[in-house]
């Protein structure tokens, strides 16, 4: 009898509460229009197989033997796979880790990476964002048996919050790492002080990525939501580029070389776009250094002085940069440039979208970026796609691009010289 009273009470309370809730609905909501059921939380991805075709982001790299490696995540699991036929087929993927808490940072500018090392070992990096926290942790894992097994992932740092790591490897095997670091921002917050953006931090490894030393924030106030890019200078020192928050909340770009001791950055502002904005562009720069030591950089801006996708070079290691040159067709929303410098040529590719079709135009330069061939479309899709990445093997240059409809594609660049 008691239970039935409870049921009756519950039913009455339900009806009453529902009426009360109805009257509480705000008149300001604009919920009309799109009449669809509420979104299920954690809806399964359209494709959940552990293969590159199912990844939102893919990072490619060729090893010294000419084998293509890719790092990618599907859901909460990180994989690597290799291809001996230029991406047509892949080996069975090696699972590196499945997260029990949080997510793998693999969206837009953020993605896991694989770095083939000189001794034929492999280093993998990825960033996690825990469920209840906004900051990330960068992890690395190493394989010394051709990608069959990886070591237990180790955090680069265990506090502060890090994202957007990038790596370069010198001919002697030293690995340089750079990333955006929220440690100083967290300290400022704890002290009740304001702090714009992230720090820019660096470290190096002489044991093939097992340990990193000299972890240090060398500059503050980088834009925290855009990738950092890295390239190896002619003198064996790494060059990095990122979006910096200058005085007045101006989010323009900065490029700098790490000093020999790893304790100083030597470089300068890339351009005065004057993009004064309190926002996240979600689009970091591309960087390449050519055989003559010239720095090449491409970036996106909506500044007062210029808007769109741009390219410039520096012949004096960041002291000055050439006048920014516009890339792509503004009518097709050019974005997400990628640069690659080989011994003979410089390449650039980017993404364009005309409202229906996404294309990847590309150009090459044989005179260090002074002049470029006519843009040539390398690939297209009518569905979702990853950012384009240019990657070099011993013999060739390729566009690496994952698209929802066509899957993963590795396309050799066959560009007309003019």
């Amino acid at each position: 009898m008691t239970y039935w009273r409870l049921v009756l009470f519950a039913l009455l309370a339900t009806a009453s509460s529902a009426r009360a809730q109805e009257s509480l609905q705000p008149s300001v909501n604009g919920a009309e229009g799109v009449n669809k059921p509420p979104m299920a939380k954690h809806a399964p991805p359209a494709c959940s197989d552990p293969k590159p075709d199912c990844a939102m982001t893919i990072y490619p790299a060729f090893d010294k033997k000419g084998l293509l490696w890719v790092a990618y995540s599907v859901g909460k699991t990180l994989y690597v796979a290799s291809s001996h036929d230029q991406g047509k087929t892949f080996s069975a993927p090696t699972k590196i880790i499945t997260l029990s808490d949080g997510i793998i940072d693999a969206h837009g500018d953020a993605r896991p990476k694989i770095i083939p090392l000189n001794d034929n070992s492999l280093l993998v990096s990825y960033t996690t964002r825990p469920d209840k926290m906004m900051i990330g942790t960068i992890f690395t894992a190493k394989s010394s048996d051709n990608g069959k097994n990886f070591s237990t992932p180790q955090p680069m740092l265990t506090s502060g919050g890090q994202r957007f790591d990038s790596y370069v490897v010198t001919p002697k095997g030293r690995i340089f790492a750079g990333w955006l670091d929220k440690t100083h921002a967290a300290q400022a917050k704890a002290e009740g002080k304001e702090f714009a953006g992230s720090g820019v931090a660096f470290a190096s490894s002489d044991d093939g990525g097992i340990t990193f030393k000299g972890k240090n924030i060398l500059m503050d106030h980088a834009c925290e939501c855009c990738r950092m890019s890295a390239a190896l200078g002619r003198d064996g020192l790494p060059v990095f580029a990122w979006r910096q928050i200058f005085e007045g909340d101006i989010r323009d770009h900065y490029a700098a070389k790490l000093s020999v001791n790893g304790d100083k950055l030597i470089g300068g502002r890339v351009s005065n776009d004057d993009w004064a904005i309190n926002s996240c562009p979600h689009q970091g720069p591309a960087l390449a250094v050519d055989i003559k030591g010239v720095w090449h950089i491409a970036w996106f801006t909506k500044g007062k002085n210029r808007q769109g996708l741009f390219y410039a070079y520096s012949r004096d290691e960041g002291k000055s940069f050439s006048t920014p040159e516009k890339i792509g067709d503004d009518a097709h929303a050019p974005a997400f440039a990628t640069l690659l410098a080989t011994k003979k040529r410089l390449y650039r590719a980017w993404k364009e979208f005309d409202g229906a079709i996404t294309t990847i135009p590309a150009q090459q330069s044989s005179d260090g970026g002074k002049s470029w061939s006519a843009p040539q479309i390398l690939a297209s899709t009518t569905e979702a796609s990853d950012h384009p990445i240019l990657v070099e093997s011993k013999k060739d240059v390729f566009l690496s691009w994952g698209t929802h409809q066509e899957g993963y594609r590795l396309i050799p660049l066959r560009l007309a010289k003019k």
Binding site: Y3, Q21, P26, N29, K36, N278, H282, F353, A384
Partner: protein, 168 residues
């Protein structure tokens, strides 16, 4: 006998749980937002000004101003304000937590449910590449404006001033 007792017991507990859930405010739901949805969402209702605000949990500037949006809604009850979360489903729970923490559970929310984000950006504004926060301001009495940046962005302030002054 225990079986007869267990049914009403279970039923009453279920109903009470439901009451507690709706009694403490309806749970936050994201309507799916895909290609083709922008035009419907941007359509004015009864000539009320309409603000469509895109945001993400990976955008600190977006999160920092969520509290201000709650106040803005309260101060502008004559406008329709729609929030669109641009994250993947993986981040949706933390997006919901952020909204609830900032008193925005009762607002109208959509979430990107289409991975062809370039198309979603393009439909809202041909020049939008995904930078956030991004807000589209629509009114019958003023030109449509797209603003990259926070609530205090001069373009936002100017549009609001224009729309408000026309009403007066």
């Amino acid at each position: 006998m225990p079986r007869f007792r267990s049914f009403p017991y279970t039923l009453s507990l279920t109903l009470l749980s439901f009451i507690l859930m709706i009694g403490t405010g309806r749970s936050l739901e994201f309507k799916p937002y895909g290609r083709g949805d922008f035009d419907q969402i941007a359509h004015l209702r009864e000539q009320r000004a309409r603000i469509i605000h895109y945001w993400s949990v990976t955008c600190p500037a977006c999160i920092a101003e969520l509290g201000q949006w709650a106040k803005f809604i309260n101060d502008h009850r004559d406008m329709d304000i729609i929030f669109i979360n641009t994250d993947d489903d993986e981040d949706r729970e933390r997006a919901a937590a952020r909204l609830e923490k900032n008193g925005l559970s009762q607002a109208t929310h959509y979430g990107f449910s289409d991975s062809f984000v370039e198309k979603l950006y393009y439909e809202a504004d041909k020049n939008w590449r995904g930078e956030l926060p991004f807000t589209v301001l629509i009114s019958a009495n003023a030109p449509r404006v797209s603003v990259t940046g926070a609530l205090d962005d001069p373009h936002f302030v100017a549009w609001l001033s224009q729309v408000t002054s026309i009403k007066k």
